[in-house]
Structures are given as structure tokens and as C-alpha cells.
Symmetry: D2
Subunit: 149 residues, 4 copies
């Protein structure tokens, strides 16, 4: 898919995300979308932390949830009315997220007609260095429904 072909997909996904009350509440941003790929990030502020000053695990899970679903959604057959639905994911925390910003990079490993398998890595950025703080593996259902993302 070339850039021109992807532009309306990009716009449709951003419009759907803009309607997510929780996306606004958390304050996450879409950094990049491409076929099979989504990058989202979140700046540090007290409302997204846990009691020791690290990004809350639930915030990290939210980024993983959205980024993996969106990454699969970039490959949905929109003309055929296909949308995506998060079936499940598994998330390992590898180090405390104590940076100024966290970035979640989701990449489709295997696109499918019925379901897609997506990997996500979350990095904590601190003083110009990125450290892996979580890694995830997700299954996204490709459904015959008005595009969910």
C-alpha cells in the first residue's frame, strides 16, 4: 500500500481514536501509523503513575491494547466492511517505567483474514535513552462489522 492509498486509512483510524473517551483521559498520542504498524506514546504526568512514581502497569496495558488493535486495523479490508476487535493479549513487564515518556511500538507479525497476531514493545525514554519496559503478544480478530478501528 503506497502513501496515497494509506492516507484515508490513517485518517479513519485517527478519527476513531479521537472518539475514545479513555484515549483523551489518558492523554495518549498517535506518533505513527503505517500498514501493519502503530506507534503511540504518553508523556509523564502524575495522573498516569502508580504509588512509586512509575508509569502504572494499567497505562502500559492501555497503550498495548490500543496500539496492537490499531496495527491490525491498518490492514483491515475496509472496502469489504471489515473491522478489528481485540481478542486477547499477554503482557510481560521487563523493567519499571520511570522515564519522561513511554512509547509503544506495535507490529503485525502475521496478518490474517480471520485474526492477526501482533507484537508490541513498550520503551521508557529517559534522558535520551530508550529502555524496554514491557513486551506483549496480541491476537486481534478481523470481523465483518462496521470498522471498529
Amino acid at each position: 500500500m503506497n502513501d496515497a492509498a494509506f492516507a484515508p486509512v490513517d485518517a479513519a483510524i485517527r478519527a476513531a481514536l479521537d472518539k475514545q473517551g479513555f484515549m483523551k483521559l489518558v492523554g495518549a498520542k498517535v506518533d505513527a501509523l503505517a500498514p501493519g504498524r502503530a506507534v503511540m506514546s504518553l508523556e509523564r504526568r502524575s495522573e498516569v503513575l502508580q504509588q512509586h512514581g512509575f508509569f502504572h502497569g494499567g497505562v502500559i496495558a492501555f497503550l498495548v491494547d490500543n496500539a496492537t488493535t490499531v496495527a491490525a486495523g491498518t490492514l483491515a479490508d475496509r472496502e469489504a466492511g471489515q473491522g478489528v476487535l481485540t481478542a486477547e493479549y499477554k503482557l510481560n513487564f521487563t523493567s519499571p517505567a520511570k522515564g519522561e515518556r513511554i512509547v509503544c511500538e506495535a507490529q503485525v507479525l502475521r496478518p490474517g483474514k480471520r485474526m492477526s497476531v501482533v507484537e508490541a514493545k513498550v520503551f521508557s525514554h529517559e534522558k535520551g535513552q530508550a529502555k524496554l519496559c514491557a513486551v506483549a503478544l496480541a491476537t486481534i480478530a478481523m470481523v465483518e462489522a462496521p470498522a471498529l478501528i
Copy 2:
């Protein structure tokens, strides 16, 4: 552990949760704590939904993250300075969470000295009926550190 013995554990966990900026932002409540068990809930409001009016998957993951960790934390050896840390979890979404309230019930399946295995079920409550909307399986590390929960 009898009720009197559990009272200070209950208080310590609630105090730790009160210091979570993200717990406040999301607006989740602790419904019940008991040895090996934690129940948390969240009322419907637009800020915790996705674009189709269902509770956001990331909100459900947040409840699972906190409730499973807390359930393991109720069994930490606090006198020995033991705390808990979320190692990983896996979450399956079983139906759209479209109710007025979601409730996450976490139960330790196998308490451990080094790690505990915890199950969580999330129910969407609608018109007096509870429907399973997610199920999860978590591994919580029991660590030698100032109690994290």
C-alpha cells in the same frame, strides 16, 4: 488469617492505592479485600469508554492489573518486608462491556514464596445482570522490597 489480623493489611493496601494517580484518574473503587482476593469496580462514564460506547479494553486491563497484584499482595509477608510486583498477565475479552458498571474479581490460585498465580474475571453489570466480559491469568512476583502494594 482472621479479620483482626487482616485489618492492617487491608488498610495498608488501600493507603497504597490512594497514592496511585492513575487509580484516581480512572476512578476505580476497591469493593472488597480478603486474604488472596480483591474486588474492584468502575462506574460507566464517557471518559472510560471507547468509540462505540463500551468500556475501553485498556480500562479492563487496568482493573485486572491492579486487582491481581493486590490479591497477591494480601498474602505478602509484610513483617519480612515482602512486597509484590506484576510480572505478567494474559487477558481474554469474552464480550463487549456495555453495562453500567464493571467489576473485577481477582483470586489467588496458587500462592507462592517467589511468585503467585492469580485469576481474574471481569463482569459487566447491566440491569441487575452480570455478564463475563473478560478473563485473565496473572503471575505476580513476591519481592524483597518495601511493600509495593
Copy 3:
């Protein structure tokens, strides 16, 4: 589904399992099948152990793989040509499986038209006592294909 209606399903699944070379090699048995449920077991012998005399984790995973898929398969719409395919599972080991026999009980938590969510618990039986040695959560795809199980 009553017993008479389930009889041909039971027979079809057992026939499919009889054609699995690996089922024979491992020596696992089907203890029970019912709508949404499958129980399989394996007797202790040196060929299915690891180096410390416990049942090998890979043997436990095999039982989980087969029992969860079969549990979902009991609910497939066979007249419509529906079969099942293992999409993914997650498995926690909760204690060493050192008994004389292991038994895997799989139960569908949420049957679906497109995918089913199945839970499995594996017990190690020793001197008349059953101890939980593993717990799993699986996603089984319900596919339009000559019944795979």
C-alpha cells in the same frame, strides 16, 4: 444437547484423535467428553518425564493444547462444516507434576461463533490426592473447514 445428540460428536472427536500420531506417541487418553468439556489424562512413565522425574512441561502443554481444542470442538456446528483450530494459549505452571498420573480438565468459558475461550486445569494425582500443577487459558478459532477435531 442430550446424550443421544452428543454421541456422534463424541465418536467423531475420538476418531480424529485416534489419527494423531503424537497422541499415540505420548500415550494420552480421553477420559471424558461432554458439550463444552474435555478431560484427558496420562500415566507416569519415564518417556514423558524431564530430568528430575517430573512430568515434562511440554507434556502438560500437549494435554492443554489437545483438551482445550477438543472442548471447543464439542460445540462446533458440524452440520455447517465447522471445525476448530488452536489460535493460542497461555499456561502457568503452579507446582511440579510429580504424581502417578496427570489429568487435564478443559472447560469452555465462552462459546463463540468465531472463537471460543477455554480454561484448563491440570492436576497431578498422587496417592489419591489431586494437586493443581498447571492452569491455562486458550483461544480456539471456530473455522469453516472440514472439522479439524
Copy 4:
């Protein structure tokens, strides 16, 4: 760790695997060991297949189980008596394993003192081409015990 330092680790792990009855029954081979890495493979034969002639999912899970645990085991502090124990893993099947051989490559993503996070990819080799047939994410406990692997 240089090659000379790794040689006794390599030998100890191969010796432990040689004592696994199930490793022999399945017929898997160790292709490569290195610090943080393990590669295992299995040739096609009828005893390791399911009823449609593909490698059985349980066989793939066995390779994932062993390779991820061994990959973490290469980094255990053997002089301090540290060993490894599989805590949990999650496994997604991405395509039918219909090749002549399957190869599981496990790589430690985050080594830890208490637990390590390991990724595994399983490829089906057919006519000189390798196709991803499964991907997995595992948590391996680093334990104070006579080295388990």
C-alpha cells in the same frame, strides 16, 4: 561470556537434556546454544503429527517450553547454584506447520536475577524456505536450586 567460558555451560545443559525422557521420545535436537539463546529442531515423522499431517501443536509447545527454559538457563549463575524453572508461557500459532522440519529459536529479551523474559519463534522449513508457524513469550524463574537445566 567467551566461547571457552561458555563451553562447560553448553555441556551441562546438553547433559541435562539428555536425561529428559520426553526429549528422547519426541526426538528433538539441540542445534545451537549461546549466552541468552537456544535453538532446537525436530524432523518430520508420523509420530509427531496431528490428524491432518501437520506437526502437532503440542510438539511445538514442547519445543517452546524447552528452548525458552534453556535460553534462560544459559545465563544462570551456576557457581552460585542457580537453576531455572519455567513459570509460564504464551504461544500463538500463526500458520500450519507442514514442513519437513521445525526449528525453534529462543532468545532472552530481558535477563533477570529473579526471572527472565524470553521470546521464541518457531519456523516450519519446507523446500528450503522457512515460514513462521508460532511465536511465544515466556517467563522463566531463576531459582536457588541445583541447576534444573
